[in-house]
Symmetry: C2
Subunit: 226 residues, 2 copies
């Protein structure tokens, strides 16, 4: 049995478990995003800003995925939301099974938005469906404008791109228009936001969009509606 | 046959091929570093600075690893050094076999330093020996000070830590002393450099250290000398 056959079986098994997660989310009427990026792009900071802004407006829960430590879950828990930590112990991405296990520890009743923060990795998480409504990829201006071309799968499989750390642009050689152009070349249907977790710019627009998605009841991928 | 058994076999096969690469490097008297980091930490910029500084002082060759594109190889080729590009086509790390294939296209005769720039990924490349003398991990100040704790394997398996983008510190919440403390907690034997590719600070110290390693003829891991 070849390695490729094994990998295909792992992905098939994952897709089946993701389908079950998606059914559960649909039943609970929970809109779910899978937040992905390189390490240090600001996923957790963005999540903190989002939780702060949407406090009292949306009922939110969080699943934190990390290779090690529960540092991010501790940061998120300060916002008084239900949070479950997954530690992958060296694993480079979340899988649907790990999310299903975390859901056993998380009561979704009344939860309108579930944010799954994936392991910081711009490659491996792109292949794994967790049952989310959509992947949201965060790219920091500090990473440069060429990343969509160099790591295309993640940008191709995401529905939303958040360009973060906008406040650092004056000190960088990053051309934000080139960054957007490169991302849209890979995936023309990306919805793009520009944010700074330091200044707070772009956070209201991003949060308003999230509220819109929740009110639309968009919690099942069109492809699974057949 | 379980997935774990397959993974173990992949790693064993890789170790065998890495051993052969290491023998070749020893025979050619080439000092080899495996440059690893998150996407956008500045590996290629650091390499450009290093090539510029060491021009006429060391004979250097480069192997570039990328998921897609040869953008980095193009940047490096401007410095008039031999460069071979590996495109992994979605693969999240370099393996010894890919490096062996690249070596077929690269004449190591007289090359004193070979830099292998790995795929931008702070998780997967940590498990794969390429035959290098040592792994050098680049961490950008923009990624925050908690990354060694959250991605410990890479910091544990590296011999050198380069803290890059020092010029951005005034605009960040990153505590560089905490970053160093966290890294040294994971791996107390790390040699640490602090660099800025924008201002050039730290580049002479890093390059002097590289020259020292080359002159010491340190090109085989102690563990393989038995």
């Amino acid at each position: 049995m070849s390695v490729i056959t094994i990998e295909r079986k792992v992905l098939e098994k994952n897709d089946e478990l993701a389908r079950r997660n998606r059914e559960l989310f649909a039943k609970q009427r929970t809109f779910v995003i899978n937040l992905v990026s390189s390490p240090g792009s600001g996923k957790t900071s963005l999540l903190e800003k989002t939780l702060g802004y949407l406090k009292g407006k949306l009922k939110i829960a969080v699943i934190e995925g990390d290779v090690q430590t529960d540092l991010d879950a501790q940061r998120v828990a300060r916002f008084d939301v239900p949070v479950a930590q997954i530690v992958t112990n060296g694993g480079c991405h979340l899988e649907a099974k790990l999310v299903a296990d975390a859901l056993d520890r998380l009561d979704l009743a009344g939860v309108e938005l579930l944010v799954i923060e994936n392991v910081g990795n711009l490659v491996c998480p792109s292949n794994y469906d967790l049952g989310e409504a959509m992947k949201v990829v965060v790219a920091s201006t500090t990473e440069g404008d060429d990343k969509p071309l160099k790591y295309p799968a993640m940008f191709r499989n995401a529905s939303v791109l958040i360009i973060n750390k906008l406040d650092l642009l004056p000190y960088l050689d990053c051309d934000i228009n080139a960054l957007k152009r490169n991302a849209l070349q890979i995936n023309p249907s990306l919805t793009v936001f520009e944010t700074s977790c330091r200044s707070g710019s772009g956070i209201p627009e991003w949060c308003a969009w999230l509220q819109q998605q929740v009110s639309k009841g968009y919690n099942v991928k069109p492809s699974t509606l057949t």
